[in-house]
Symmetry: D4
Subunit: 240 residues, 8 copies
C-alpha cells in the first residue's frame, strides 16, 4: 500500500493546484488550459446574451485565447463591445478572441461532402485554427462525384489529422479513411431526407466504417471534430 | 360513371382468370408467373422439410422453373429425390430447378463489399440467373480499397442493372451509384460490429445515398436484390 | 498483374475526362450528365436564394435541362429572372428549365395513396418527365378503397416502371407489386398519426413488402422515386 | 360527497365478492370468470412443467373450461395425465380442457397472410373457440396474391369480428379493413427479413392502418387476437 | 376450380357496384358507407380550407351524416357557410353535420386519465356519437387516484365497448381491462415528459397490457378509438 | 481561493484513506463498505467460476458480509467449498455469506406482478435483507386482478420503501405509487410478448409514472431495486 | 377465505374516506395529501391560464401548501391576483403558495452538471423545499472538471438524499453515486448535441450506472427528482 | 481545367501502383500497408478456419507483420501450423505474427472500467503493440471507485493517446477526458443489464461526452480503439 499512498500524494499535489471561480452563472474552470491543453470553451446555445458576455469577459480577462461556439450575431455584437479584437464568423457561428499569439504549425485537413455541411465544417476549421493548427479545407467532395475527392488525395495525405464532415449516408469518412495513413475524425451532420433521422444514418455509417483509422464525434459537432484533430496535430514527436 | 364500369369489367375479366390451388399447407398461386413475370418463390426459412418438398413438388409439376431460397442441405436432398435435375448452391442457400430453357440475356452486375457478404450476393446471383439474366460478379470491392472497385468500373457501366451488396457502413452503394448511369439496387447485409444493429447502419446509409440512382431492399434480402435487377434487365426497349 | 494495369489505364482515361468547376459556394459536377445520365440536381432545402440562383445559373449556362427540388416561390422568382423559360410547380416545389428538347418515351406510372401524398408524388412526376419519361398519374388510390386502385390496374401494367407513393401503413406498394410484372419504386411519406414516426411505419412496411418486385427510397423523397423510375424507363432493349 | 359515498358502497360490495387463492407458485384469480367473462388463462412460456400442472389443476378442479397457451408437448403430457379430456394443439401450442359445454354462436373469422403465420393464427382460433365462438379460417391470403383474399370477402363480411394475422409489411389488416363493416383485430407476427425487426414493421403498419375499423394487439399475440374477437362476438344485441 | 369461379363472380358483382367520384383534389369513395358502415371521414390536418370545404360539400350533398376531424375554427367557419347545420367542437377539433337522424343506441364509455387527454377523448366521443352510440364520459380518472376510477366501475361495466384514453404510462387501459368483461379500445396520447417519446411509452404499455381484452389504436387517434367502439356497439345480437 | 484550498485538503485526507487491492483478475475496492455503506458486490454473469471464487475469497476473508448476484449453481458449489456458511438461493441466483451479524430493522416491501417476475423480485429481497432490512413480499399482484393488490395496501403503507417489480406494461408501479406515501423503486422486467422489447415497455411506463413518488432502475436489475430500498430503509431519523 | 374478507373490510374502510371534487376542468384529489404525503401538484404545461387559476384556487382554498410546475409568467400573474402570497420562480418555472408553515428539516443536496441544467435543478429545489426539506445546491459540477465536484464531497455526504441533474452523457450520477452512502435520484436533462436524442443518452447512462445507489426519473423531470428526494428525507428513523 | 488535369495525373500515378491479388476467397489488398500505414487485418468472425488460414498465409508470405482479430483457438492452431512463430492471445482473441521487427516507441495507455471489458481492452492492446506502440494498461478503473482511476492519472498524462474501454454507462471516457490533454479514443462495450441495449447506452454516453477530446469507435471494437491510438502515437513531430 506504500506505493499507492505515494501516488495519492501526487494526486493531492495535482488537485491542490486546480483553481476555479464562482461567477454569477457558472463556475469557470481556469485550470482547464493547463490540464487539458485548451481553456474552457463557451457553448452559447442555451445561454442568454448576458451570460455569454459575462463568461466571455471572465475568460478574456485572463489574457488567453477564447472560443465561443453556436453564437448568434447578437451575442457577438455584445462581446465585441467588450473585446473589439474579437471576431464573429457567421457560417461557423463562432466568436474568437486571439490575445496570445500561437504560431500555426502542423496540418489539419477538413473535408466536407456538400454545401449544407459547411456550418459544421467551418466550426471545425475555426476550432482547429485557434488551437494552433494550419488548416486546409476541401469542401463539396461528396462521394457521388468521386473524382472531386480523388483530386484532393495528395494534400489530404500530407495532413497530420483529417476531419471528415458529411450528412446523408456519411460514406465520405470511409472513402477518405481508405486513402490515407493518418487518423480521421468523422463528424456526422443532420443533413438529409427523412430517414437520415437527424444525422443518425451518417453517425451509424461512420461508426461502422470499414476503414480502420476512423473515429467519430457527435452529430453536427464540428467543434469536437476540430478539437480532436488539433489535439492530435500538436502532439510532439513520438521519439521525443 | 359509365367509363368506370367498363374498367371494372376489365378487372373482372382479369380476376376471373386467376387460378390458385389449396395444398395441405399453402395455397399455391399458380397465376403469379403470368401476373408478376415469375412464379411463386419458396422461402424455406420457417418451413419444415416436408412442407418445402410438397410445395416444390406442386410448382415443379407445372413444368416451370422453380426457385427456393434460405434452404438447408437437408431440404435440398429431399427435393432432389423428387427432381434429380434440381441443384443446391450451398453459399447462396438456394435450390433451383430449370425445366423451361431461358436464353440468358441482358446483363446484371453484382458487386459485394466483403467476404462475409457472399451468401447474400450469391442469392442475388442465383435469382437473377434463373430469371434469365446474364450475371457478372464483382466481389470483395469494399470502399476501403477503392482501387479494387475502380478496376471494375468499365464492366459495371455495361450492365443494365447493378446489385450492390454491403454491410457495415454500406458506402458501396453510393460510390457505385456515382460511377454509373444505370439503376442500382442496394442490399444491406447484417455484417458488422455492435452498432451495425444487424444491418440497420447499412440500410440507413443506402436509403440516404447521395447518389440518385439507388433504391433499397430489405436487410440480407439478396433474393429481392436479384429479383428487382432481373425485372429491370428484361424490360423491352423503351421505344418498343 | 499485367491485366490489372491495363484496367487501371482505362480508369485513368476515364478519370482524366471528368471536369468540375469551383463556384463560390459549390463545386459543380459538369460531368455527371455523362457519367450518370442526368446532370447535377439542385437540392434547395438548406440553401439561400442567392446560392440557388448562382448554381442554377452555372448549370443553365451549359444549355442542359436543369432541375431544382424543394424550392420556394421566392427561389423560383429569382431563377426566373435569369431564365424566363424556367417553370415553378408549387405542389411539387420544383423549378425546371427545359433547354434541350427530349422526346418523351416509355411510360412511368405514379400511384399515390392520399391527398396528403401529392407533393411527393408530384416531385416524382416532374423528375421523371424532365428525364424524358411519359408519365401517367393515379392519385387517391389508398388500399382502404381497393376498387379505386383495381380500376387502374390495366394502365399500371402497361408502364415500364411504377412509383408507389404512400404514408401511413404504406400498404399500397405491396398491393401494386402483387398486381404487376414491372419494377415498383416505393416512396414512403411522412403522412400519418403519431406512430407513423415521420414515415418510418411506411418505410418499414415497404422494405418488408411481401411482393418481390419492390425497392424503396428515402422518406418523402419523390425525386429519388421519379429518378429511379426514369433510369429504368430509358434503358435500351435487353437484346440491344 | 353523499353521492360519492354511495358509489363507494357499491365498490365495496363488489370488492367483497372477489375471491382468490394462494397456490404454491401463484395467486389464482378465481373471480376473473365473473369479472372479465373468462377465467384466468395460463401463459406457459416462462413456467416449469410442474408449475403449469399445478395451476392447471387448481383451475380445472373448479369445473370451468381451461386454456393454457405457449405450451410444450411435455407440459401437455403432464396435464393430460391429470385431465385425460384435455387436448393439445401442436401448431397453436395450446392445451384446452372443455368441461362446461358452450354452445358455439356468432362468427369470428381469422385471416392469415402466410404459412409462417399459422401458429399465431391457430392460437387465435383455439382461444376464440373455447370462448364460445364459431370460427372460420382463411389462411394464406397475403396481399401479393390479392385474388386469394378477394375470394373470401363474402364470408368475411358475415363475421361479427375478424382477426387479421400477418407479418412482413402487415398490409393484410388494411386491405381487410377496407372491405368489411365489422371490427378487425390485427395481430402482427414476427415473420420477416431483417428490417421487420421481429414484427415491428407489421405492428407499425397495423397501427397506422388507413382503414378505420382496425385495432391492434401485441406481436405474435394470437391469444389476444382471439380473445378480443370473442369478447366482441358474444356481446348481446345493441337494443337488448 | 368450379367453386372458385363462382366466388369470383360474386366478387365481380360486388366490385361492379362500387362508385367513386373524381373531385378536383380527391376521389371520394361514396360507396364506403355501404361497404364499411360509415362514409368517408375527412382528416383535415394536411388539407387547405378550400379542400376541406370542397370535400365536405361533396359528401354533404349526398344527404348522409358527415364527420371531419383535426379541423380548425377557420375550416369550420367555411363549412358552416355552406351547411349552417354543421357544428364545430373546439376541444375535439371536429366538424359534424347530422342530416340523417340516427337513433342513439347501445352504450360506449370513454375513460380518460387527465385533463391533457381531453382533446383525444372528445374526438372519440364525437365520432362514436355520430355513428349512433349513446356515450358516457369518465374523465380525470388517472390511476394515481384509483378511487376516482373505482367509483365509475359500475357504469363502465354496463357499456358494450370502452375507449380508454391515457398518456404518460398508459396504465389506465390495463386497470380498466381488469375490471370489465367488454372490449377495451386503448388510445395512447402524446402527453408526458421527455421519455414518453410523443406517446410511445403509453402505446407500448397498452400493447403489453396484462389484461386480455385490450386492443390499441394509433397515438392521439381518438377518432379510431371512437370508431372501433361504435362498430362494436352497433353489432346485432350474436344469435341474430 | 483560501477556502477552496481547505476543502481540497479535506479531499486529500479522504482520498488518502482509500485502500484497494490488486487481485489477479480485479482490483478489489475494500474501501467501498465505508464510502458507500456496503462492500463491493460480485456480478457473476460474465465471470468464470474461478474468478468468482477468487474474488469471493478476497472479500470473505475480511470478515464482512458478501453478496454475489447472477450466480450459477456451479459457482455456488465452488464458493461453498471455501465458505461452508455461504448460501445459494436458486430463484434469486444469489450467493450470500453472513459473517457480521446485522440486526434486521425497518421495513422494505417487495411487490411483484406475476410468477415470471419472481427471479428479479427475489434478487431484490436477498439484497435488501443482507443490507439489514426486514422484508415483506407481496407476489402475483398484477393490476389485472386489482383486488389482490388492494388487499396488501395496509402492509405496503407501513414500509419505509417499496420495490415494485413488473414486466409487460409495468402499470404496477403507478398503481402502488398512488396508494402510498413512501418512495417506490420500480424494477422493470423483460417479461412479455414481442412489443415489450425485452422490458423497454415496462421501463418507459415506469419512467412516465403519473404517480410522483416513483424512481426507476435498470431492466431486470432486482439487485439495484433492493439496494436502493435498503439504502433508504436504514437512513437515520430526519431530525437526528 | 375468512382472512381475505377481513382484509377487504379494511380496504373498504380506507376507500370510504377518499374524497374528491368535480371542478369544471378536473377532479381534484383532495385526499392525496393524506394518502401520498403531499397534495396534488399542478402540471401547467398543457393547461390554459384559466384552468391553472381555477385548480390553484380550489387547492389553495383548503389552506394547504400548493405547488404548480412548468408555469409561465402569465399564469403566475393570474394566480398571484388571487393569492398575493404566492411566489413565481422564473428559472424553476414554478408557482408556490406557502400557507401551512413547515419546519425545514433533514438535508437534500442537488448537484447539477452545467448551466443549461439549471431550470431542471431549480424545479427540484423548489419541490423539495415546499415538501419540507433543507436543500443545498451544488451547480456547475460537470465531470470534465472533476475537482469542482470533489470539493463538494463532504457536504454531499451529509445529505439524506441527493438529486443529480445532468444532460449530455449523464456521468455525474455515477461519479456522485460512487462517492456517497445515501440514495441518489438521477434526473437526465435534454441538454446536448444531436446524439443526445433529447436526453436519451443521459437517461440510458443513468439507468446503467455502475454505482449501485442510483435510481432514475423521467427526462427533464426536476419535480420528480425533488419529490422523491423529499419523500426519502422525511422518513422517520428506521428504528421508530 | 489545366491544373485539374495535372492533379488527375498524380491520381493516376498513385492508382497505377496499387496491387491486389485474387485469392480463392478474397482479394488481398497488398498495397494497404503503404497507403494506410498498416497491412490488411483479418477479421475472423464470419470466416471458416480454412479461409483464415489461406488469407493469413498470403499476408504472411510477404514478410510483413500480420494481425487477425476475433479468432478462435482452432483458427490459431491452424495458422500456427504454417507459421510457428505466430502467437494466440486467448483473452484478446487475436493471432499475431511478428516478422518485421518494429522498435516500440511512444506511449499508448489503455484504461478499462471492469473485468468484463477485458477482452475488448486486450484486443486494443495487441493491436496497438503490433503497430509499434509502447502500451501501458490500467484495468478495473470504473468511476464508481474513483480513487482507483485517480491513482493512474500521472501515467495517463504521459501517454500520446489513450484508449478508454467501458460498458454500462460509459462514464469512464468523460472522466479520463477531463483529466488529460491528449486524445482519448472511447470504446463502448456491450457489458451491462437490459437497458444497456448491447452497448448503446455506453456508445451514446461517449458520443455526448462533456470532455472535448474524446472520439468514439464502434461497440466492442477494441481493434479500432488500438488502431486509432497507434496511428496517433506514431505521427512524427508537428514541426517535422
Amino acid at each position: 500500500m506504500q506505493a499507492e499512498e505515494l501516488t495519492i500524494d501526487e494526486v493531492v499535489a495535482r488537485l491542490r493546484r486546480l483553481p476555479f471561480e464562482d461567477a454569477a452563472c457558472a463556475r469557470i474552470d481556469h485550470h482547464r488550459q493547463l490540464r487539458c491543453g485548451f481553456g474552457e470553451v463557451i457553448f452559447c446555445e442555451s445561454k442568454t446574451i448576458g451570460q455569454v458576455r459575462e463568461i466571455f469577459g471572465k475568460l478574456g480577462q485572463t489574457g488567453q485565447n477564447v472560443l465561443a461556439t453556436r453564437a448568434t450575431a447578437e451575442m457577438a455584437a455584445a462581446v465585441i463591445e467588450d473585446f473589439p479584437k474579437a471576431a464573429f464568423c457567421q457560417t461557423a457561428r463562432t466568436i474568437t478572441l486571439r490575445q496570445t499569439p500561437v504560431e500555426p504549425a502542423g496540418h489539419v485537413a477538413i473535408v466536407a461532402a456538400g454545401t449544407s455541411d459547411l456550418p459544421v465544417a467551418e466550426e471545425a476549421r475555426v476550432t482547429a485554427e485557434i488551437m494552433g493548427a494550419v488548416v486546409s479545407t476541401h469542401y463539396d467532395c461528396g462521394v457521388a462525384g468521386l473524382h472531386r475527392l480523388l483530386a484532393e488525395t495528395d494534400e489530404l495525405r500530407q495532413a497530420r489529422a483529417i476531419v471528415a464532415v458529411a450528412g446523408m449516408e456519411g460514406a465520405l469518412a470511409s472513402v477518405v479513411g481508405g486513402l490515407v495513413a493518418v487518423p480521421v475524425i468523422a463528424v456526422p451532420t443532420s443533413v438529409g431526407y427523412g430517414a437520415s433521422f437527424g444525422g443518425v444514418a451518417a453517425l451509424l455509417a461512420m461508426l461502422n466504417s470499414c476503414a480502420s483509422g476512423v473515429s467519430v464525434v457527435n452529430i453536427d459537432n464540428g467543434f469536437a471534430g476540430g478539437y480532436n484533430a488539433a489535439l492530435i496535430n500538436r502532439l510532439p514527436t513520438a521519439g521525443g
